[in-house]
């Protein structure tokens, strides 16, 4: 008896044109949901790797998410042993160097970098620190390059 009532109920509903509107609502809802979901699907991380190049070759690689202090051995200008030339700091998604052994410490003055496109360079020790990722910004808010 109950089954008959339910099947009668459904039959009545499916006969109404209102069911088509509901169909559209479902489809619309699915679009919105899938749009939202496409943002949740993890993209391959673009801004999480800090790469340190010494003399043109990659020498160290760190995750920007792992806070820490790391000794960097740059290319010693006079030759001989390779003492630690810089200490690389990663903290709260920012990267910077301290205890630089170079004379002018321009690398320290370059400050903290935190997104792809920015670099820190120590020329005497041939150290280049960059963040992996795409560089060209499309929102026009920050510069593409800086003249100095």
């Amino acid at each position: 008896m109950a089954m008959d009532n339910r099947s009668n109920f459904f039959k009545k509903i499916s006969a109404r044109p209102l069911m088509r509107k509901n169909d559209l609502l479902v489809i619309g809802g699915v679009f919105v949901l899938s749009f939202a979901l496409s943002f949740l699907i993890p993209q391959h991380q673009t801004a999480s790797i800090v790469i340190v190049e010494v003399d043109g070759r990659e020498a160290y690689r760190f995750s920007i998410q792992k806070d820490g202090e790391y000794p960097i051995r740059g290319c010693h200008p006079v030759g001989g042993t390779n003492p630690v030339s810089h200490t690389l700091h990663i903290r709260d998604g920012q990267v910077y160097v301290e205890d630089a052994q170079c004379r002018d410490k321009l690398c320290e003055k370059m400050g903290k970098i935190d997104h792809p496109g920015q670099i820190i360079v120590c020329v005497p020790y041939k150290v280049l620190i960059r963040i992996e990722g795409y560089q060209v910004n499309e929102n026009g808010a920050s510069p593409d390059a800086v003249t100095r």
Partner: protein, 351 residues
């Protein structure tokens, strides 16, 4: 009430879920393709060259890495050929030969001729023959840890000045020579030239290439961003101020921009700063303007004009540079800005 009945609730439900799933997959695929950019339109290469950092940002349809390799090789070639530190290149040979004529190729002749011209039109503010002064002050040793800097005596400066100046450079058909012991130092122009060559190489290999080349803050545009938009270039503030790193922003689709400043390479003794832009008249680091940024048609000119902009009197610079094809932004020790009439148009984004 079987499930083969198309109007039965079970089939309807199945159909709804089936189509919903299909649409979901389709929509996700569409959104992933349209809205997520997986391949960057620009390839970037960072390196250390010419005693500073270098960045190539290149947009090219095919083989951007091949182009970048070619551009890097060109920069290395120019650096080796005209570096003041290299004792085996043509520059060293010309310097060693002194008053004896040295044979030079077309490229060297072009650079020296243009340098001479630029020295003339900037009244010697840009000067390619200040090698004696560079050596005296030790700016050629600035990257060496063990070099001990000291301020030269007035007598030493006087002696070096007598052996300096572009007027000592004589250029003939295919030979050049230097009089009075003057030495060539192309440091004020070689970065600009290297950038121009780099841009040329890119365009030769791919006429549709876009992007820019940045060597130590001198920037040359290969082509407009995404084919038609401006590159946004910030002008570094010459002093460290909390929260301020840029003094201005310009929008460029073509040409070159260069900055000379007293904050880039310098020695400091007892709180006094001695920077590397030397005034050819006094033989000492320039005073007054702390940063000069110049936009010109090519980076070689921009480089030379920026150097001149540091040395010449502010009013004179603002008056003469536009006539020479440059637009300038000058910053004084109080961080006040003054610019040529045409500079402002670069600070506006083209609609």
């Amino acid at each position: 009430m079987s499930s083969s009945d198309p109007d039965s609730p079970v089939t309807l439900q199945k159909r709804v879920w089936f189509y919903a799933l299909l649409i979901l997959i389709f929509a996700v695929a569409v959104f992933l393709l349209l809205f997520r950019k997986n391949t960057p339109p620009y390839t970037t290469k960072d390196a250390i060259r010419m005693g500073t950092y270098m960045r190539i940002c290149l947009g090219a349809e095919k083989n951007p890495h091949t182009l970048i390799d070619a551009m890097m090789r060109e920069v290395t070639r120019v650096e080796n050929k005209y570096s003041f530190h290299n004792e085996e290149n043509i520059l060293a040979e010309i310097n060693r030969n002194g008053e004896n004529w040295t044979y030079v190729d077309e490229e060297t002749r072009f650079i020296l001729e243009r340098s001479y011209e630029l020295a003339l039109i900037t009244k010697g503010a840009f000067d390619p023959a200040l090698g004696r002064l560079t050596k005296l002050w030790g700016f050629d040793q600035i990257d060496k840890d063990d070099f001990v800097f000291r301020v030269p005596t007035p007598e030493e400066i006087e002696t070096a000045l007598k052996a300096s100046g572009y007027r000592n450079l004589e250029i003939q058909e295919d030979t050049v020579r230097l009089k009075n012991g003057a030495l060539l130092d192309l440091g004020g122009i070689v970065k600009g030239y290297a950038i121009d060559r780099c841009v040329q190489v890119a365009r030769e290999l791919d006429p549709d290439a876009t992007g820019y080349v940045d060597i130590g803050g001198d920037i040359g545009i290969i082509g407009p961003k995404f084919g038609g938009a401006d590159w946004i270039i910030g002008v570094q503030s010459p002093r460290e101020i909390e929260g301020v790193s840029l003094m201005a922003s310009v929008f460029m689709k073509t040409g070159g921009i260069a900055t000379s400043g007293d904050y880039q390479r310098y020695y400091e003794i007892e709180g006094q700063r001695y920077h590397h832009i030397l005034n050819a008249e006094t033989g000492k680091p320039s005073t007054g303007t702390v940063s000069a940024t110049v936009i010109a048609q090519n980076s070689m000119d921009a480089d030379a004009f920026a150097t001149a902009g540091m040395i010449l009197d502010e009013d004179y610079v603002l008056q003469i540079l536009p006539r020479l094809g440059g637009q300038a932004l000058l910053i004084d020790p109080k961080l006040s800005k003054r610019s040529t009439d045409g500079w402002a148009s670069f600070e506006k984004n083209d609609p």
